[in-house]
């Protein structure tokens, strides 16, 4: 019977070699990698990785203990009810920017939820300077009620000082 997928999360100060060392250990025991997402957040490097075939969560944590310690990583392993080939296609993109302040993500995502949008991918960043930070957020999602409710909710967000652009997306398949 196929082993269940595990979700590995690893976070630590960014330095070269983290991915290569972690995946070398996993490859060495015959593990299978599924979908992964890795990115630098702040000065940290964060990894989320679907893994199976390397044992249960405790065994995987044991395999990676030496690498974890060498790189000073925080490691978490969970068994998850996941499967490959479950992709969804976004049909709307929302891009938000403004002077940074608290509450932007909360306000925007609450409005989009109300408009029937399911978020598939969200990335946000703080740019500008330390004394004049700006907040930028890019969201791709599915618009279950069409794009009009999203455009209406965006108009309300503009009243709160946010610049928001909504763009319909269509995947070209040929």
């Amino acid at each position: 019977m196929t082993q269940p997928w595990l979700l590995l999360t690893l976070v630590g100060a960014d330095r070269p070699g983290i991915v290569a060392h972690v995946t070398r250990v996993l490859f060495g025991v015959g593990a299978e990698l599924g979908e992964t997402a890795m990115m630098r957040l702040g000065n940290q490097f964060a990894i989320m990785m679907m893994v199976r075939g390397a044992g249960n969560p405790e065994e995987v944590a044991g395999l990676l203990e030496s690498t974890r310690a060498d790189f000073g990583l925080k490691l978490h392993v969970d068994e998850i009810d996941a499967a490959l080939h479950q992709h969804r296609e976004p049909d709307v993109s929302v891009i938000v920017h403004s002077a940074d302040r608290s509450g932007i993500v909360s306000e925007v995502t609450a409005a989009l939820l109300e408009a029937g949008m399911n978020i598939l991918d969200l990335r946000s960043d703080v740019g500008g300077s330390s004394d004049k930070p700006i907040y930028i957020m890019q969201i791709d999602g599915e618009s279950s009620n069409g794009i009009e409710p999203i455009e209406q909710c965006v108009a309300r967000l503009a009243d709160q000082g946010l610049t928001v652009r909504v763009t319909p997306l269509e995947t070209m398949r040929g």
Binding site: H87, E89, T171, M172, R173, G174
Partner: protein
């Protein structure tokens, strides 16, 4: 049409990386093939185009049909493009693409925003078209197939953000 759809080659089949030969014979067999290819695309998952090499026929023929877009877009109607060549292009846009030959994956690709192309129709007559936006994207994707190029070869960062179309 009651005939079976043509089997679609899927990545990493080497034929998808092969440059196709020009079509030289414009005969009833070619017309029948183009109809069969259209039938095959009709049965695929919401395809707006298909190219002959995707069914193993290594000739420069493709179909482009922007009338099948979910949202109305500028278009030249359903097209059979034989020996197509892009003669002019302008601007760039990022868009998401998928492919009948690459199931269960989509990604962002940069394409020219507007193009002009020349081709032959099913009877061998020279035709020219101006295309923009979504239709231009379809044509570029399909003509790439004729040159053995897949959208995977043109992927850009998933966070690329030129103007989406």
């Amino acid at each position: 049409m009651s005939v079976e759809p043509l089997p679609i080659l899927t990545y990493p089949d080497e034929r998808l990386k092969t440059v196709c030969e020009p079509v030289e014979q414009f005969d009833p067999e070619l017309r029948e093939f183009a109809e069969h290819l259209q039938h095959t695309a009709d049965l695929g998952p919401s395809a707006v185009g298909i190219a002959a090499p995707q069914v193993g026929r290594m000739q420069r023929l493709c179909l482009v049909d922007a009338t099948r877009a979910k949202r109305p877009v500028d278009n030249n109607g359903p097209l059979v493009l034989i020996n197509p060549a892009i003669t002019n292009w302008k601007g760039f846009a990022v868009g998401r693409e998928g492919c009948l030959s690459i199931p269960d994956y989509t990604g962002k690709v940069i394409r020219a925003e507007t193009i002009e192309l020349t081709a032959q129709d099913i009877q061998g007559r020279t035709v020219t078209f101006k295309m923009k936006g979504f239709e231009a994207r379809i044509a570029q994707h399909e003509i790439d197939h004729l040159d053995g190029i897949l959208f995977l070869d043109r992927l850009v960062s998933r966070h690329a953000d030129l103007r989406e179309r």
